[in-house]
């Protein structure tokens, strides 16, 4: 398995992670050696095997889609952790560029 710096750039953009050029180099090497180790799972014949996605018994849990009201103190506590807010909203940079 050969992973290139181009792959690292692409995956970093998918993961919304910024790296320095130096970090990208060591990361390319490390991911390559980890993926090389992981390759061994290819030897296992799984053609007749169903996947296991979860440790639990796999029963789905349903509930009514109803709103459970939080107390004002919980709401206040949640907003205390917000980097920026306006009224009862989290404030972020403009999502769409409307100028052009």
């Amino acid at each position: 398995m050969e992973i290139s710096k181009k792959d690292v750039d692409y995956v970093a953009s998918l993961a919304r992670l910024e790296f320095s050029e130096k970090d990208k180099e060591s990361l390319t090497q490390q991911l390559d050696s980890i993926l090389d180790y992981i390759e061994k799972i290819k030897e296992v014949d799984t053609s007749k095997i169903a996947p296991t996605s979860h440790g639990a018994t796999g029963q789905n849990v349903w509930r009514e889609d109803t709103v459970v009201k939080s107390s004002q103190s919980t709401i206040d506590a949640l907003f205390k952790n917000a980097p920026d807010k306006e009224g009862d909203f989290f404030k972020v940079k403009k999502v769409m560029d409307t100028e052009e």
Binding site: V11, L14, A15, R16, S33, I34, I41, V44, G55, A77
Partner: protein
């Protein structure tokens, strides 16, 4: 040394209940001990002295007035800092959550509060529980109380070190691939990963949701059983918690183990096994024979693939779980001109190297064109590992293995090679993949005086067999009665 700090949680609960000791006396004794030795081992991110003493006073009042009390009334406990306690800082040992204050209680914390437990502090971990040594903590590395040049194990290294150094009689950890059992083994204490779904994960920071489980850490087996009594049970806030009645784990713990069938998986007794570990495990097997157990060699044929599929699965799940740290609703935000830069810089600067490495690996494994080859394939091999255990448990009641291939290594020894670090989890991760319960108990020391742990694995929801087997062993040995000279 104050005698209180050497007592088990079971003894402390009894003495507080009988008014031989007050909770304030007990809590103060552990806080004093923590103030004295924690600067040397750095197990705690924060010691919540004021909070703890307030709780202790309430417990004492309750007892004095003859009100009904809980199973852990007045007993201190340390909590891994990836579990939420309302109004207390919770960092997950990450810069991205450095100033985060928990807005609510985790379900296990609610349960501990109603049992009367006293929260003495939040313990250090590898950032987001990703690691085996606490070296990935964004703040500092915790040290092993038996030798401060060595790692305490991880990721629940702070909790293990705190209990081992007698700064808390009990602790909670989380275990995704061995994060309770491996540090318990390194620090010479008991650590239990319950069956997946036995304990609610609500309010624990999600790492790999199909594997994560909260569990007890303590000096004695009895104390861990007592703590599991309190935290186990179905919770509607965690849809993967399972509605199976919770037995009283103390009721069956003293049963003898005559005729119990214990399996030794040949794949775990490999060439690379440290000779001190091998010797201690062999001695433990002899003790089990004397206790009347039948020892049977078994095979878990897909063991060799466990580390590989574990890292695919845990990194894939982590990459999805950690997408929530975007600097919008909470956590670190790097101020930028546009939103995309803000995401990338907040995450790039807020996460440490190991967390980023795992997000990258997981994102890669889930990306278009690679999903089937990695994540899909890993899930199928996971089925085979699960089946290995199902087959083994047709002939045996319990499986015994070393907890780790070597005693705790030196700080810095493996930190530059991620793959070598991953391989130190080789004996603990299958248990999470198969969802079965497992625990580590102390079974000796290396020639250099570093603790060695033995792992016991049982069938789904059969913690009782595991506890009684561990208890019988502990009654016949003295490892748990030794204290580090710190």
């Amino acid at each position: 040394m104050n005698e209180i700090i050497k007592m088990s949680a079971t003894t402390l609960a009894e003495k507080i209940k009988n008014k031989d000791l007050t909770s304030v006396e007990v809590t103060q004794a552990f806080i004093n001990r923590a103030k004295e030795v924690d600067p040397k081992i750095k197990a705690y991110i924060s010691i919540t002295e004021e909070y703890a003493l307030k709780q202790a006073k309430e417990s004492d009042k309750k007892i004095a007035s003859g009100k009904e009390i809980g199973q852990l009334e007045g007993v201190p406990i340390a909590i891994k800092d990836n579990i939420l306690i309302e109004n207390i800082k919770m960092t997950a040992s990450s810069k991205i959550l450095e100033n985060y204050v928990a807005p609510y209680d985790a379900t296990v914390i609610e349960k501990l509060k109603s049992s009367g437990a006293v929260f003495i502090g939040k313990t250090n971990l590898d950032e987001f529980a990703m690691g085996s040594s606490t070296e990935n903590s964004a703040f500092f590395t915790t040290r092993n109380p038996w030798n401060t040049e060595h790692i305490p194990g991880g990721s629940s290294g702070g909790s293990a070190s705190a209990v081992s150094a007698m700064t808390a009689p009990l602790a909670l950890g989380t275990d995704t691939g061995g994060s309770i059992r491996q540090p318990a083994s390194c620090c010479g204490i008991v650590g239990v990963k319950p069956t997946y779904g036995r304990v609610s994960r609500f309010g624990a920071v999600a790492f790999a949701s199909s594997l994560d489980q909260i569990g007890p850490m303590s000096k004695t087996v009895e104390d861990s059983a007592l703590l599991l009594n309190v935290i186990a049970g179905y919770d509607k806030k965690d849809s993967t918690s399972i509605d199976v009645a919770v037995p009283n784990y103390l009721d069956t713990i003293k049963q003898d183990i005559k005729g119990l069938k214990i399996g030794l998986p040949k794949e775990y007794f490999i060439d690379g096994l440290d000779s001190d570990v091998k010797k201690s495990i062999n001695e433990a097997i002899e003790i089990y024979k004397k206790l009347g157990a039948e020892i049977i060699e078994i095979s878990l044929p897909h063991t060799d693939y466990a580390v590989a599929i574990y890292y695919i699965i845990c990194c894939s799940e982590a990459s999805a779980n950690l997408a929530r740290y975007d600097g919008v609703r909470y956590g670190f935000r790097a101020e930028c001109d546009n939103l995309l830069d803000e995401y990338q810089k907040s995450r790039g600067q807020g996460f440490g190297p190991e967390v980023k490495r795992r997000i990258m690996l997981g994102t890669y494994a889930l990306s278009a064109g690679y999903y089937d080859a990695y994540y899909g394939k890993a899930q199928k091999v996971r089925t085979l590992i699960k089946q290995d255990f199902e087959n083994a448990f047709k002939t045996v009641d319990l499986i015994l293995t070393p907890s780790s291939p070597t005693p705790a290594f030196k700080i810095g020894e493996k930190s530059s090679d991620p793959l070598q670090m991953y391989l130190s989890d080789i004996f603990t991760i299958s248990c999470n993949l198969a969802a079965i319960p497992g625990m580590s108990i102390p079974c000796g020391f290396s020639q250099k005086g570093i603790p060695i742990g033995m792992q016991l694995l049982a069938k789904n929801f059969d913690e009782q067999t595991m506890f009684k087997s561990a208890y019988s062993y502990q009654q016949s040995t003295n490892w748990h009665k030794q204290f580090p000279n710190i």
